[in-house]
Point group: C2
């Protein structure tokens, strides 16, 4: 019989920034007991996942062992850590642990999917520790761009693991927990076997800046606004919302929050008693009666999301508000790679309306929620782990972070999604690989990334589509009907593509030997190939083709 | 009868960075004679233009007056200035004027579309001027990131216009024409009525850097490469290719150029006698026998293009070359907004292979080809125009550039795509708007952006597709056949979506009154709506639906 082992298995998040899901296990191989950390999503795009609603790490491997899953920890309430919780909870069915604010968002995620919200247990922060299966786990308060973010202190039979979650070292984060080096030193005291650490900003060479540094620049900026002042940031960045609202109030403006997700996050923060001296806000109806030079709007849509308030405002009107010359629009946010075009579209629309658009290019109006390179080194130093395992990054981030650790003499191991790292011994290594793909939420269905469904949609998007119905009665052709969708007609000649294809199909069917004509699959294959070729010749595109073959019995007519 | 007027009409390029096409006209309104400047393309993306091959500004307005188009000037050989020349030349049919290197690329563009290459006339540069219709035009040598870029000096009956094309102020551009302030002063002597000026880098606050500044950093970098050294840049940036090749040779490496477009550009540059002391390169066969530490590859694909050499190398193997630990890959280029994900994919793939990836984030290995904000001010100062008209930019760039001019007392006018600016008087203004959209090359067809063809493809990509054939004989249903494409099956129950839809269709047809059943359009509309609803209920998606209704005559059976 094999010996017990301690394993770390990233299922998502170690190969992309998004869809975080990490498993820790202890036990005899194949019989380990587990905790899972985070159940996050990543977002689809036309380029690769058109029509998909959300993407979550494939939970298959851990779901197959769900009877040995003792708990799910959610480090914080960002979508890339919590967004998949309701969606795949039925495949995990284990108690959920998190901090209070995170718990509120988690309950909403569970409710969205009709899951049992009472599965959620709110834990007090470290130094409090909770027994979960073979582990003792404490949630370590860390600062990030959302309230009550947590790292995890995981005491295992082989020693202590620290899983940072997303963190920055902010001594004055406005809302939430300041960086507390003394607590990290305290955590490090028994020795840290492994540090599993955020890698997002490993390429940022300067020390991270504090949320509190934004207060003056934002205040000074808003004071210069002439007409309506509007600002956007991430809905869950309560500290930033507070800074923005305070700047508005100090400039003599009433502040109104537009956008459902922002209002919801503020409500959670209020319920969790995190708002403190957040200035009073006015509701929509009041706001509509306030002169624009006396009003500031906080709106959703910092990433150019088409359905968010910023896009609606850019396109014309939103809830009675229209932007005009002399107004100001502030992006107190960074554009996430991939969203440049959408954000640019909004900036251009505002520019065309004479709106003064201010973004974070000056570095004055946004700070990141992640530890920069020197901050990461500080975390390494404080925790002095036996091994560093970078997480929360694309491969290049993980590798760079590992190199950073190695340069300082810390053994560092890149463990990508799907690798099982055995941490039992002094020399952790990757020992196995498991299936770690992606699952798509598509309408109401969960589908695999390799099911071919989305691939077919991409094919239709790039090639267009021909649907053809053929009616045969024994060897006789009774009818052909063709529809083209998403295809141009040929510019030469006066006939539609569909008509041309119909005629060619009739000719082709005439050429099919009677014997072949009785075999459905052969007829369909031959016709589909012929149609694709006709289209290529006529319009230079080889479409997706479906022939619907209908065979009538002779006696049925 | 109206008076003669001088007009400027941007058809593309004044609202995006790409697909440049500008018209200048002189004459009685509606009877002006024209010159056209540039016939560029912009590139499609899955997000908005899936399956499209190229995008060009809609030439409709100028094509309708092509009998009064006296000449087409191509400022330089970048795709966003020359890429649409062959594609839409048959709708313009006017003599083409450009410099020598540009002419070589232009001939290739014409040949690709079987157009008459002899329409191209290579002109000597300014101070040489050529009579074209009512204008005298000279091509002003400017520095840019491609050889022999040109601005235009256009002498009109109402004074001199300077159209900058794309330019930077590079005193030592390695290849091509250095910045020549004396020549600009000379151009300005008779007075400049209007300066139509590149706006690309108006948001870059520092003076632009010279191509020659890259030589040492790139040389020093390549000298540190251990295994294979590979560098990518834009294929047409001959100066950069020279700098890279020289760095390779100085590091004791043989240099080999991979990628068709790069080889073609080098051939043109050689034919135009622009290569000067470009180091000798080895061909592919030789390169394959050279030890990797003695070899440097120059490859295409700086924007992560899927079919270019860099992507192939990242994915494994290309022409016998494989990247390994210890190799270096240099992006001597900037990532154009929108390409971040594709470029990131390549960087991650190389990182996973242990390849050292170097990009331009240090600012050491790439310089822009466009004038930065202070450089633009220098151009304004040198030419002292009566009016500044920003071009070559998104709306925000045009606006910022106009504000920059106004701040210095230069009247500045934003003229977006489709606006007709009347420059006749001392106070230019926008007097009309014409249709200025986009035309897509889709396979071998040119289609309008609003034809609905691409919209249908986007719909299929996001919603999936159901094709259904129904066979009716008078009121009797003879058969139903359904195919779903790009749609998941419902997870509840054991039946396929197609089977479920077929059954529901049969039920639905039973419910259709006999009278309605005789009207094809009504039957189709009712069934298509029903199918969409069934799918929404079953899988949460409302697909694109096409019902192919086949009606058999009773006597045909």
């Amino acid at each position: 019989m094999s010996q017990e082992r301690l394993i770390y298995v990233p299922l998502g998040g170690a190969g992309e920034i998004g869809m975080n899901m990490y498993a820790y296990g202890w036990g005899v191989p194949g019989k380990e007991r587990f905790i899972l950390v985070d159940v996050g999503v990543t977002f689809p795009s036309m380029n690769g996942t058109p029509g998909v609603d959300l993407i979550v790490a494939d939970p298959g491997w851990i779901a197959d062992q769900a009877d040995r899953l003792d708990g799910i920890f959610i480090t914080h309430a960002h979508e890339d850590h919590i967004g998949g919780l309701g969606m795949i909870f039925d495949r995990l069915s284990a108690p959920i642990y998190c901090r209070r604010f995170t718990g509120m968002v988690a309950r909403a995620k569970m409710a969205d999917w009709n899951r049992d919200e009472d599965q959620i247990t709110v834990l007090p922060p470290y130094p409090d520790m909770t027994d979960v299966g073979p582990f003792k786990v404490g949630i370590l308060p860390v600062s990030h761009s959302i309230p009550e973010a947590g790292g995890l202190v995981i005491d295992t039979p082989k020693g202590r693991i620290v899983h940072t979650g997303d963190l920055k070292l902010d001594p004055s984060p406005i809302v939430g927990d300041p960086f507390n080096p003394a607590m990290l030193r305290e955590v490090a005291k028994p020795g840290v076997k492994a540090l599993v650490c955020d890698s997002t900003n490993v390429f940022s060479p300067l020390p991270g800046r504090s949320e509190s540094e934004l207060r003056e620049p934002i205040r000074d900026l808003i004071a210069t606004a002439e007409g309506l002042a509007v600002a956007t940031t991430f809905a869950s960045n309560i500290a930033r919302l507070k800074t923005l609202a305070q700047a508005g109030v100090e400039a003599g403006r009433s502040v109104c929050v537009l956008g459902r997700s922002m209002q919801r996050m503020l409500r959670f923060a209020r319920d969790a008693e995190l708002l403190g001296d957040f200035p009073p806000v006015v509701d929509l109806e009041e706001a509509q009666d306030i002169p624009r030079q006396n009003l500031m709007l906080l709106v959703t849509g910092s990433q150019g999301e088409r359905r968010a308030a910023s896009a609606h405002l850019a396109n014309g009107k939103y809830l009675g508000f229209t932007m005009k010359e002399g107004d100001m629009f502030l992006f107190s946010s960074k554009t996430i790679p991939g969203n440049e075009i959408e954000v640019g579209r909004i900036i251009n629309a505002f520019a065309a309306q004479g709106v003064r658009v201010v973004d974070d290019s000056s570095g004055l109006y946004h700070v990141s929620g992640h530890a920069n390179r020197p901050d990461l080194e500080q975390v390494h130093d404080l925790l002095a782990p036996e091994v560093l395992i970078p997480m929360h990054g694309e491969y290049r981030h993980l590798l760079e972070h590992a190199n950073l650790g190695k340069a300082k003499g810390i053994p560092s191991l890149v463990v990508p999604n799907g690798a099982i790292a055995d941490l039992t011994s002094k020399h952790p290594q990757i020992v196995e690989h498991v299936d770690a793909g992606r699952v798509y939420l598509d309408g109401s269905e969960l589908i695999g990334a390799y099911d071919g469904i989305v691939l077919n949609r991409i094919r239709m998007a790039t090639r267009g589509m021909v649907a053809a119905s053929v009616i045969l009665e024994d060897d006789a052709l009774l009818g052909v009907w063709v529809e083209t969708i998403g295809l141009p007609d040929p510019h030469k000649g006066r006939e539609d593509l569909a008509d041309l294809v119909e005629r060619e199909m009739e000719d082709e069917i005439d050429l099919i030997p009677a014997k072949t004509l009785r075999r459905d699959d052969d007829v369909i294959e031959r016709l589909e190939r012929r149609i694709a070729h006709i289209c290529r010749d006529l319009i230079g595109k080889k479409p997706v083709v479906r022939v619907l073959l209908n065979r009538l019995e002779a006696e049925s007519g």
